[in-house]
Amino acid sequence: MTVRRRTADDKRCGLPEAAGLVADGDVVAIGGGLSHREPMALVRELIRQGRRDLHVVGSAHGIDVDQLIGAEAIGVVEQSYVGFEQDFGLAPAYRRAAGQGAVQLRESCCYTILQQLRAAEYGLPFIPVRGIIGSDVLHLHPEYSEITCPFTGQRLIAVPPLAPDVALIHGLLADQHGNVHVRRPLVLDERFAFASRRVVVTVERLASSQEVSAAGVTIPYFLVDAVVEAPYGAHPTSCYPHYTYDREHIAAWIAAAAGDEGIREYFETYLAPDECHYRDQIGEAALARLRTFDESPERWQELMA
């Protein structure tokens, strides 16, 4: 397929075409974090398309990485965390794949990843970070190197630049040129957008340039290769101020991911052929319920129980 130029006037496309910008074996930066604003429509499309050997990088994540591992789409995990916190605990597909040696574990640290992205942004061959020495995380990364500061003699770890092949980001609004509006917490989304070779964006809604500009441009158009309108594109993670995370659905994934059979059934039920089917399977009422969080603190609390 033809890769869209970053200066194209119109970067709108369909989800299959956008996910086509991710190749087998790519280093992939997934936006959002934990249970917040992860680009799940793109994750699902990568699974539909049977992507393999992805090398995922980033900070603390959850169902996005666990589902990709469950679909055998990932070869290397270089995240600072993959799991479901106190909520549901360990990530079942990740834990199983790690125990079988089915994924390479290159666990990293939030600040290390950030500094590696910055090295790429700054155009530097390395950046020094403190810490890591004494941690076994060092032994998972032969690409790191201990150096001595030429001015102070301090021991530091030099880490190489990280320029992911592709960043996947879910935002709130975008115009046809690829100007994207996102709201805090941005996690690493801006850094991913600036450091990556390709940037693929889904948004809750496409809008006019005036509307995106008024809301505030978080990621400027010249960094972006493709934009796709994907309502509920972060589901079952949250996408405020529109909807909270779908705790019940995440619980359903946790239960399904206890075994290979459950994972197969989950994907059969929810994935094929497209996002319309996915939303139908979740159900209009269930989705609408997630939008009621702002009725009152009590309501919000109820949705989290």
Binding site: G33, S59, Q86, G99, C110, R130, G131, D136, V187, P297
Partner: protein, 276 residues
């Protein structure tokens, strides 16, 4: 207010008491006891503390409840500002975070913690979630408060971690001084059995809950237990501290860190064991 209270409430209060007024404090994600403790400290003895939420990086929010996940907009409620990811970690790197909280599936006598994996590195028996920002922050943050709710399991406090994620006072690679870490390392450790300090960079038992004795701690600890000359009984929560724990965490998210037997451990405000 029910004056009978349980271990989870007491532990959160003990953790809160490790925070000084005016400190800049951060808890990691997935750390409900530390999160409750920070909000309790802010609303009781440490009103000038700068509270930075664990995954939203919201400043001093006043949430109506704590959600079971750390990156949620409910944790932005009442916050005057939300820091960027970059700003939080830069604060930590340059030594301007005074304290953070760390836990682990394994913790050794020097306060090294393992949140990465149990068993061999190529095929771990249990792949834990991972360290988040710990293996950088533990080098540079002013002081660390360590906690675990699983000391009683006998599997958590170990002579040697299978994998060191976050660095304590000494690792096989050397001491903090030798490694050039500007941060002070572990200062306190609060567990479901008692409280520890680190006078020589090694954990030392100083205080106990009233339903635990030194022998029970020794039996649950995988390394040679160092004990202070006078081990004291912990001071129970004040009414105000207890009320604040319940206000901060009305749904009891903190309880997800505990096993059912420990959740049944109950006390009175006089520090006596309460009979069920």
């Amino acid at each position: 207010m029910n004056p009978r209270f349980t271990l989870d409430e007491w532990m959160c209060v003990e953790l809160a008491r490790t925070i000084g007024d005016g400190e800049i404090v951060f808890h990691g994600f997935g750390s409900p006891c530390a999160q409750v403790a920070m909000h309790v400290a802010k609303r009781t003895h440490a009103p000038h503390m700068v509270l930075i939420e664990g995954a939203t990086y919201a400043l001093d929010p006043v949430p109506a409840f704590l959600p079971p996940t750390s990156n949620d907009w409910s944790l932005l409620t009442g916050a005057p500002h939300v820091l960027r990811f970059e700003e939080l970690f830069d604060l930590g790197a340059r030594g301007d975070l005074d304290r953070m909280f760390l836990s682990g599936g394994q913790i050794d006598p020097y306060g090294n913690t393992n949140v990465s994996m149990i068993g061999p590195r190529d095929r771990p028996k249990v792949k834990l979630g991972g360290g988040g920002g710990g293996c950088n922050l533990s080098a540079t943050v002013g002081a660390l408060t360590i906690w675990t709710t699983r000391h009683g399991s006998g599997r958590t406090l170990v002579q040697r971690c299978d994998f060191i994620t976050d660095m304590g006072h000494r690792t096989p690679a050397g001491s903090r001084t030798e490694l050039g870490f500007p941060g002070g390392g572990p200062e306190a450790m609060i567990t479901d059995l008692g409280a520890f300090d680190f006078p020589e960079g090694r954990a030392r038992l100083t205080r106990l809950y009233p339903d635990v004795d030194v022998e029970a701690v020794r039996g649950a600890t995988g390394f040679e237990l160092e004990v202070a000359d006078r081990v004291q009984t912990m001071t129970p929560p004040t009414e105000a501290e207890l009320r604040t724990v319940r206000e901060v965490d009305p749904t009891g998210v903190r309880r997800s860190e505990f096993g059912s037997a420990d959740l049944a451990r109950a006390y009175t405000l006089h520090g006596e064991v309460a009979v069920a």
